[in-house]
């Protein structure tokens, strides 16, 4: 037993150092002497967080903190296994991102802005830690709200153009609607629970009526789904993530989305203890839709950061599919496979945090070297940025889920849990779950097509512009951050037991079961020999190297092959876009001048705008209804203070009457 006090102290010290980074940032802005102080303090805090999380992941005695004596509401923190896992995820992934930022920020921002970014991002990390460590509704909601506001503030640091403000507005509106839903789902517990400590919510979960349980689940789903960016609540994600400073994008996509997964697991598995089978099907369907559509939208993008944002939606979809499968197994009384599916989902959560942060950091390095994120203006970067290129390649291969990298392990586990669906008792589940294996395969295939395009167009071939031609390697600090993440991707891909065993223990605390499916033990028997075989073969093939001669590529025997003749990202994704044209529904606008001579035009202009259908068919009616309602409500707003006093008086009287009637 590693002194419980030590753990408690380290956790408090870690929280304190996140807060201390704020004045440190202020000092750094004042004098050269304090250069690097905020990031140093922040990294110490993160290391302490990793230590606490690592110790708690294997321990059954969670440290608790209750500050309700000094706060107006019940403010409590507790690090049980689930919290510890997400704490580990946040601290361990934020660490390389911060390391990267140390050298990235001074190259892109002036000292005043850097000061703001350090202060805000340390608070941002603090708020995420608060969310996953919360043990009462109040502390959770406080962290949740802070997280939204601080990330919005971080986006504002990068500029305040009109378009940016519009995107930010959409982000804030959707996040607050989501937060309202989360708050409401907490308050739904109140009839049966006397307070909002997580322990009492857990104890009272079984007292709720089925209707109330369903309502809580749905509200939580809307709230956390909006944060996770599940389709159709994803509208903010591709708008807000790309416009933040790059390290912040990595934190948002890699970590902030995961807090939504945490919330959903906390509600559906911990508080509600599973639920009816339909809740599983809802998650499964949402996940499948988000997976397929997310990656299709990503394939259609050529702005790297937007592409990565869309691919986050895809990965969240895969996680939701795993969670849904787990709920279905739980409802069907097969807890062993429920554990398998839950572990798959949580493992993919960690994996996505690792490789998505890596890819966002890589995008930052590309922007740093070429000043553009448009794939069609890149090319040939691997020769110019070899280390960044290799790290980025590892990120691409991991996110696609190719063997020997971490994405494969979690996708394999998800596949196996779908296959295990064939052992269930309900016929519907026996069909739906195995079919999901096909859906997951489609998502995998499409993401391979998407990321081979990204890497191939950006890093291979010949440079398409001067900017790409004159690119230069990123500095050491940025490379160090990326290589840490890349190494984690490989390590978990070949030796997943590092994470698998704590995750199984964690899943077993949420889903009490003694038996474990054989799939877990088989995994290691498969991965390590495959890795050995691959490496041995690679060594043999490396030995065969003939002479080399440099010649120009084939151009049908004609001279003048220019870099512009290479396929661009847009051209590369064209076959897939045309197969799935029904999904994209582009608004095309083709005008030929002069219009009466369409075969001999003097000028042609073409414009194509994609994926506006959600706005048109889903969001526009909602916003129209809200505006119409607001217009009606305006009649009450006379601006006359006497009338407002009357409203207050009437409300008071009504409430008193209601109270009297209930008595």
């Amino acid at each position: 037993m590693l002194g419980a006090n030590l753990i408690q102290l380290s956790f408090l010290a870690s929280l304190a150092s996140f807060l201390a980074a704020v004045p440190a940032a202020w000092f750094e802005g004042r004098s050269k002497r304090w250069q690097g102080l905020p990031s140093f303090i922040l990294m110490i805090g993160l290391l302490l967080g990793v230590f606490v999380a690592g110790a708690q992941l294997g321990s059954a005695a969670p440290p608790q903190f209750d500050f309700s004596k000094v706060t107006p509401f019940a403010f409590a923190l507790k690090i049980d296994r689930l919290s510890a896992f997400f704490l580990l995820l946040i601290c361990a992934v934020a660490l390389p991102v911060i390391w990267y930022s140390r050298s990235y920020l001074p190259r892109h921002y002036d000292p005043v802005k850097i000061q703001w970014i350090w202060a805000l991002s340390s608070l941002f990390i603090f708020s995420m830690v608060l969310v996953v460590a919360a043990a009462s509704a109040f502390s959770f909601l406080m962290g949740w709200e802070l997280m939204t506001l601080l990330s919005a503030a971080l986006i504002l640091v990068d500029g305040t153009s009109r378009e940016r403000l519009h995107n930010l507005f959409i982000y804030l509106v959707m996040m607050h609607a989501g937060a309202a839903a989360v708050a409401a789902s907490f308050f739904m517990f109140l009839p049966v629970s006397h307070d909002l400590y997580f322990s009492s919510l857990r104890a009272s979960g079984f007292l709720l009526s089925p209707g109330a349980r369903a309502a809580i689940f749905l509200l939580a789903l809307v709230g956390f789904g909006a944060k996770a960016g599940i389709i159709p609540l994803h509208l903010w994600l591709p708008r807000a993530h790309p416009i933040a400073p790059t390290p912040v994008s990595a934190l948002m996509s890699g970590l902030m989305l995961k807090t939504a997964i945490y919330g959903l697991v906390r509600f559906s598995f911990d508080f509600l203890g599973g639920g009816p089978a339909w809740s599983g099907y809802v998650l499964l369907t949402l996940g499948a839709v988000s997976g397929v559509l997310g990656i299709l939208y990503a394939s259609g993008e050529h702005d790297l950061k937007r592409l990565l944002a869309y691919s986050s939606i895809e990965n969240i979809g895969i996680i939701f599919m795993g969670l849904g499968a787990s709920l279905i197994f739980l409802a069907d009384q097969s807890p062993a496979y429920a554990v398998l599916a839950l572990v798959a989902a949580l493992f993919h959560t960690l994996n996505h945090a690792l490789f998505k942060s890596l890819l966002f950091l890589g995008a930052g390095s590309i922007a740093d070297a070429t000043h553009t994120l448009d794939l069609n203006e890149l090319g040939g970067l691997l020769n110019r940025l070899p280390n960044t290129g290799i790290a980025f390649l590892i990120g691409c291969v991991s996110i696609v889920g190719l063997p020997l990298f971490n994405g494969f392990v979690s996708e394999l586990l998800t596949f196996q849990s779908f296959l295990a669906g064939a052992t269930l008792h309900v016929p519907a589940a026996r069909i739906v779950l195995p079919l999901m294996a096909g859906t997951l395969a489609l998502v995998g295939g499409l993401s391979a097509a998407c990321f081979v395009n990204v890497f191939g167009v950006a890093f291979l071939g010949r440079p398409r512009t001067d900017a790409a031609e004159s690119a230069h390697e990123a500095p050491q600090g940025m490379l160090a951050g990326m290589s840490l993440l890349a190494m984690a991707c490989i390590a978990l891909g070949i030796y997943p037991r590092l994470v698998l065993e704590p995750l199984i223990a964690l899943a077993q605390t949420l889903i009490p079961t003694a038996t474990l499916p054989a799939e877990f033990t088989g995994l290691q028997r498969l991965l390590a020999p495959a890795a050995v075989a691959m490496l041995a073969l690679a060594l043999i093939t490396m030995l065969i190297r003939g002479r080399r001669r440099v010649t120009a590529p084939w151009a049908c025997g004609l001279p003048g092959l220019s870099p512009r003749m290479q396929y661009t990202a847009t051209a590369f994704s064209k076959p897939i876009r045309s197969v799935f044209a029904a999904v994209y529904k582009p608004d095309r606008d083709l005008s030929v001048l002069p219009s009466d001579h369409s075969y001999f035009p003097t000028a042609i202009s073409y414009r194509s705008v994609r994926t506006t259908s959600y706005e048109r068919y889903l969001y526009r009616p909602v916003t129209n209804a809200v505006v119409a309602l607001a217009n009606q409500l305006r009649r009450f707003q006379t601006g006359n203070i006497q009338v407002y006093l009357l409203y207050i008086f009437l409300t008071l009287v009504t409430l008193l009457i209601l109270l009297g009637l209930r008595k």
Partner: protein, 313 residues
Amino acid sequence: MTILIHALQALLIVLGAPLLRGWVSKIKARIQRRQGAAVWRPYADLAKLFRKEDLVPPLASGIFLAAPRIVFCATATATLLIPVFHPAALLGAPGDFVLLVALLALARFALVLGAMDGGGAFGGMGGSREAMVSALAEGPFLLGLTSVAILARSSQISVITGWTLGQNFFDVSAVHLLAFSTLAMVAIAETGRIPVDNPTTHLELTMIHEAMVLEHSGPSLAFLEWAGAVKLSLMMSLLIALFFPWGMADGPTLQAIALSAAAFLGKIVMLGLVLALFESSIAKLRTYAVPDFLGIASATGFLAVVFTLFGER
């Protein structure tokens, strides 16, 4: 002894692959009333390519030379999962068929990257088409495998093979028919045969696989060609293992292994014949009709999984 058999069956797939390719070309030539090259010709081609020099485009990166080798390694590793002589393989654990699909995906990923690194116009073209075909083939591939896995109640290829061995050949179920047609269509798409892709085309604009290997030469091209041949024999061995395993040895006796080797050779010769006949009797599809072909494969895969519900459980 068992380890030796495991190694032998993987080696047979890898080393015999060029022969299978030669056999299919020979039959196709005969159908076209030509004499055709000798069945051993692919070996001579490989030997010639291995002796030649590697031509590298001026601005290519290390990926250009690494990609063909990775393609070969990944494909060859995948053969370790296939049972040939007896229902067991060197690598095997629950869920290994996902590893098989993923290893082939890894090979394809490297292949497309190698193509795009050439810096020419055709590499990207071939890569883009290959990305589409493989993205659409992955779903039916796993659906087909899933349906037979459900029947055999195991997600390990060699266990599925063992289960099928215990069944009566004439007791064939609708699931098997559907899964076989799904996987056969996927195999055609994966290995780039007619009607999805024409392996003997000389017109750049119609190429998929050939456009991707256009820039490669010497040992690199040899690895790519060999990997392509291995993929063909791997897919055929997979079909045999899943649907026609009868004749496989039940014990590690020399006699049983010899018998099963003979049976395997007979079966793969027949499958090669069927492939050649099929390829000779059908025209290549337009590139944009290929998704329809894979759509049919997905539909049969879907039905195969649905029909497992009506099996005896």
